[in-house]
Symmetry: C2
Subunit: 425 residues, 2 copies
């Protein structure tokens, strides 16, 4: 069974809203071995929706459509679907009761406009939406399955999780697909490709390798297709083993996890704690770490010292340092990282200070100039970076580089001091 | 001229990487009045790419293709394009020189694998990529334009900005498209729709309204099409005026800006400063504000007090409060917000503490329980929220609600104290 996803909404075609639903749906389908062959984003227009449905049915047996189910006039998905399936819309009392209930819980009467949300295709199985007002719809038609879901991400996710995926798992799925991931840091895509050239040349027909580069890291994805799960898994394990022989310490994880999660996990195992002192990253390092459950086992806290007075008052950076060397200097990040470690009583600390842009640069220190310091249990490291002109990219790069410097120092100290396993300060 | 975007990459169909290029490209094209009619995401496979090119050419005069131009084996875009345009790949010496130069700057010799990056379609105008190794390609074919760009976002953005958009602006563009935006906070989508029902019913044929809801806010987009820019603009202004009569204070901005930018701008105008004390949001509020240039005029800094010891030591939350009322309590966020204001010497402060999940909940305080406090120049506000089970959604909701509470308090104090214009502490 192959799937195709259609996302409906003018706002997506204007780039006004980032379309994130299809990536999430694709991840879920991949877990139940249903590959997505194409994703189409189309306008809130009858013609575009009809064409997309037609075209998707030619490639896939499962079509998931999101968006355009709201009560407002710009949402045309339901009446267009009725036309496509040559059926009508009927009022579903159970859905109507539910929508009224949502409003009455909030202390309102249901606006008249929301009555239309209880309309569903006559040929569908309605999917009850407990977290919103737009129901989903499941349609079996000519040995294909069409599923309509709301475009609001958490409503779509709720329906996928509780209504769609359990039903899909009951369907017959022929081919088995498996993916394995290897996360590497510190080596660029082309150098990596050269290092594992032999492995790639000797790959069996049914297995492929893809390179997924991000700032400072590359994820390798091994994809396999077969009919026996155990055989496929053995093949993939063997290739993973060969790759790990070639790449060694550049590999940080064999799971499909984020680098921050690996860092938290390894630091938790070593029983060490972390604090940050952030100027140009403005809390982004802290936010990136605390995004993940379990961060609290390692991460104690942060001082975001955006204003210079906060650097002197809270982080005790000497006035003279700011005056003589400036806020973006090696001396400043050293003072910041030392005080962060002291103030929070942490084993490790990182500090950032830079000119994120687009303004604030000078001839001597142009936009993109960044200093990072990392302090561990034994050592202190500093490094200057010269990024470019884009504020958000500069913040992202600084965040990643700070965590990479932390990772390197942490691993080094762990290897050099195996006896105490980094358990004592 | 209408455009279509094709994104190529297996990783996108697996949901492994979030496809963000098309939204950005769509925004840029919208600025030069080129509407995007469809976006397709397809696999790194000859058949899929050929079909997508064919299908896009039937709907659009401009086709922008991103991804699959890398040096590794999984990238097949160039040879597939050669087949589609019935041409060959030729080595471009200028590109080769550039790619070698990039490696030599980094102190490496160019890996052999990267030689292929200098191959371009014989029929194309190469687009030189100064920030990466994969060149773009511009192809004029049967009165249509095809543009191939790398998938790495900052390389794609560089080429769009410096090579593609300037050339496109020279092309003849017939219809004029204009969009106007109204950002509202605190009213749900359906209630909003009811309030402006009369305006929607009286809309002229060439203008439409779309609802773009996010957590706690709805953006309205007015889209108009016409042949005279001045006439169209007058029509849109008149509809904006009618809507603003209906919605009043719920409107925070008439531009296509983010709520955080409005907050920074208005607080800058009032000459007031802001600090945050964040527990469950883990730095996300600070990061969301500092994402925007100009944040430094208002935002002084933050203490991310993830560990309880940081709450007591740095933010002076009394031990007894943590023991008796708990870290997630009204008393705790009040203590946090007071000390944040004191420590940073700011006019406004916000504090958050909650159980983001997925673990850490109790019967009395389940996952999703959050307290927020906001302190202004004169008043203190607190509020409890009961969100659901998803960690990242809980962090996002808390971040937005904290900023909405701040906005309300700031506006209230500004209205009640017009004489000092909030300029003195």
């Amino acid at each position: 069974m192959k799937a195709e996803i259609i996302c409906i909404g003018d706002e997506l075609l204007l780039g006004q809203i980032m379309e994130t639903n299809s990536a999430w749906i694709a991840q879920q389908l991949s877990k139940v071995s249903v590959p997505v062959v194409q994703i189409a984003t189309v306008a809130d227009e009858e013609k575009a929706i009809l064409e997309a449905l037609e075209s998707a049915s030619n490639r896939a047996e499962l079509v998931i459509i999101t968006g355009g189910l709201g009560p407002t006039r710009d949402d045309v998905t339901k009446k267009t679907a009725a036309k496509y399936f040559n059926t009508t819309l009927i009022k579903n009392d159970e859905v109507l009761f539910h929508v009224k209930g949502i409003f009455s819980k909030l202390g309102y009467e249901m606006p008249a406009i929301n009555r239309s949300q209880a309309d569903v295709l006559a040929c569908c199985t309605p999917l009850f939406n407990k977290v919103g007002t737009a129901p989903g719809m499941w349609i079996d038609e000519k040995e294909k399955v069409y599923i309509f879901l709301p475009g609001v991400p958490y409503e779509m996710k709720y329906l996928m999780e509780y209504e769609v995926l359990p039903r899909l798992q009951k369907l017959y799925i022929k081919d088995i697909y498996r993916h394995e991931y290897i996360l590497t840091v510190g080596i660029g895509e082309s150098v990596l490709a050269q290092k594992i050239e032999d492995v790639e040349e000797a790959l069996p027909e049914n297995i492929s390798i893809a390179y997924l580069p991000k700032i400072g890291m590359v994820r390798l994805r091994l994809s396999g297709k077969g009919d026996k799960a155990a055989v496929l898994q053995r093949q993939l394990e063997e290739i993973k083993r060969r790759i790990s022989e070639k790449l060694g310490a550049a590999i940080v994880a064999y799971d499909n996890v984020e680098f921050e999660e690996v860092l938290i996990h390894e630091m938790t195992k070593a029983g060490v704690s972390l604090a940050t002192a952030e100027s140009c990253t403005g809390g982004k390092i802290a936010a990136n770490l605390t995004k993940y459950a379990g961060a609290g086992k390692v991460f104690l806290g942060s001082v975001v010292s955006y204003a210079n007075e906060v650097k002197t008052k809270v982080l005790k950076v000497p006035e003279e340092t700011l005056q003589n060397q400036g806020a973006v200097s090696e001396e400043t990040v050293i003072a910041m990282v030392k005080e962060a470690k002291e103030l929070f009583g942490s084993d490790y600390a990182v500090a950032t200070s830079g000119i994120a842009g687009p303004t604030g640069g000078t001839q001597e220190k142009p936009v993109g100039t960044v200093w990072i310091a990392v302090k561990g249990k034994y050592k202190l490291r500093t490094k200057a970076f010269h990024f470019q002109n884009n504020r958000q990219i500069n913040i992202a790069r600084t965040t990643t580089q700070a965590l990479l410097m932390l990772w390197d120092l942490f691993r080094e100290e762990k290897i050099e001091n195996p006896e105490n396993n980094l358990l004592n300060s």
